[in-house]
Amino acid sequence: MSTTTAAANRGRVLGSAAVTWLVLAAALLLWELVAIGADSVYFPRMTDIIATGADVLLSGPAWRLMLGDAVFEIVLPSLATALGAWALSAALGVALGTALGRSSWAMDYCGTLISFLRSVPPVTLMPAFMVMFGIGVQMEIAAIVFSTLWPIVLNTVDGVRSVDQVKIDTARSLGTPRRYWIGMIVLPAAMPKIFAGLRLSLSIAILLMVVAEIVGGSGIGLRISTTQSTVQYTEMWFWVLLLGVLGYALNTALLAVERLVLGWQPARGDDA
């Protein structure tokens, strides 16, 4: 039973950075040993995967810091699409969520619709997106925006609604003019919830990036499906694991931004 307080928790988390790396190293080593034992084409050794990855990513000239073509032609375009679409979705979602959340009746009518739209598997809409936008970046962006929008909208609505009555009374009694209301009171109060929505949708964005790329044939998604059909399982594993690394890095970066923006919050346990 964990009876540690939040503060003790934080201390432990800080102290455990070393543990984190140790565990990761141990996991990689375990993989290596199991792969040697299993001796299967489907399950290559970790050292081979890393070597292949280094080959793919670091084959470029020195003036590009050794970064290979794959970085510029596969990884970065994929990331740019995912992040661009996610940012678009964030702007739309926060605006829409604020409008819906401020209205006293809009969510009564739109709440069910939005939950329905959120339950639609975006993958099955790919044929429709392909017809609408053709195969290419536009389609990928449309698919990502469609699937990341709803969590942001719902979390923003929730955040906007969670401003408590005492704060509203206080702000009114201090004479806050109407036009500053959203910027000074509503959005700051909703920010923690909005960030929760942004983090959720960031991982959805990466997911949909892969889906759209597998279906549309580009970027990392295409590499994963090609390496499978050409029996290059080592490289396939590399791309899959790279997604884990990218997801981890993006999430960490967003958490850092969140800490900066929400610096006013009492430190909570590290809620990844």
Binding site: A128, M132, L207, W239
Partner: protein, 256 residues
């Protein structure tokens, strides 16, 4: 009930808007078929034996996947949540594995397991286990030590305190995790059926519609059904969560 009527109004309004924009030519009809056409296909499908068998296959795979995910996620979460050393050790691994989307594993699973029911269940379990695991770990991490101490002070031993205080405290959180996992598992099953071209299932049916170009009504009808099913499952779980955990307002707010 009035809120239900309003929600339904919103939903119908959406389909009406869809119909009107397509009929009026604002959206070209080779982009999206009008809602009425999709509705007709939808009704026809409900009388189609083969299609219904596919839907049942999908739901069965979903149910099994969810069961397995609960069977793995809850015990693992209880273990990780109650042993701090394990939790911090596993943290890095979980944080790293979590962002690997199940879709990215489809090619891998296809070569190792094939594209039958095992494949979609495996991937759906992988997808669904995370929210359950996370919510369980956090439910145990977030419990107020004062609560446990006061239970111990009433003479409860460690095990009793765990059973009567920690578990009830954690239950609503775990349930929320299961609810989220249920939606995810359904989307996962359908997506795998679609991408891996399973022999049978709702996703497979939508894939066929997409392949014989021009059958967008089939795609849309299948997608609408999938959305409705996901929405119904989620609403049912929200409802029962509210009834089960009346003392906690977690569900209420987590679902909106």
């Amino acid at each position: 009930m009035r809120t239900f009527a309003k929600g339904l109004t919103g939903l119908l309004g959406f389909f009406l808007l869809w119909e009107i924009t397509v009929q009026a030519g604002v959206l070209p009809d080779y982009w999206v078929p009008p809602a009425s056409e999709v509705a007709t296909t939808f009704v026809e499908l409900l009388g189609d034996r083969e299609f219904l068998l596919g839907v049942i296959a999908t739901l069965l795979a979903w149910l099994i996947a969810l069961g397995v995910a609960v069977g793995i996620g809850v015990p693992a979460g209880l273990l990780l949540g109650s042993v701090p050393a394990l939790q911090s050790a596993s943290r890095a691994l979980i944080e790293f594995l979590r962002p690997i989307p199940a879709v990215a594993l489809i090619p891998l699973v296809m070569v190792t397991i094939g594209s039958g029911p095992d494949a979609k269940i495996t991937l759906a379990v992988y997808a669904a286990v995370w929210p359950i695991l996370f919510n369980t770990i956090y439910a145990f991490g977030e419990i107020d030590p004062v609560l446990l101490d006061s239970a111990r002070a009433t003479g409860a031993n460690r095990r009793q305190a765990l059973t009567w205080v920690a578990l009830p405290h954690a239950a609503p959180f775990i349930f929320t995790g299961v609810r989220v996992a249920a939606s995810i598992a359904l989307i996962a099953v359908i997506s795998v059926e679609y991408i891996a071209a399973s022999e049978i299932g709702l996703g497979r049916y939508i894939l066929e519609g997409g392949m014989n170009n021009g059958h967008l009504d089939q795609v849309m009808a299948g997608t609408v059904l999938a959305g409705l099913a996901g929405w119904a499952i989620n609403s049912a779980l929200v409802g029962s969560g509210r009834r089960l955990f009346r003392w906690a307002d977690t569900e209420e707010r987590a679902t909106r």
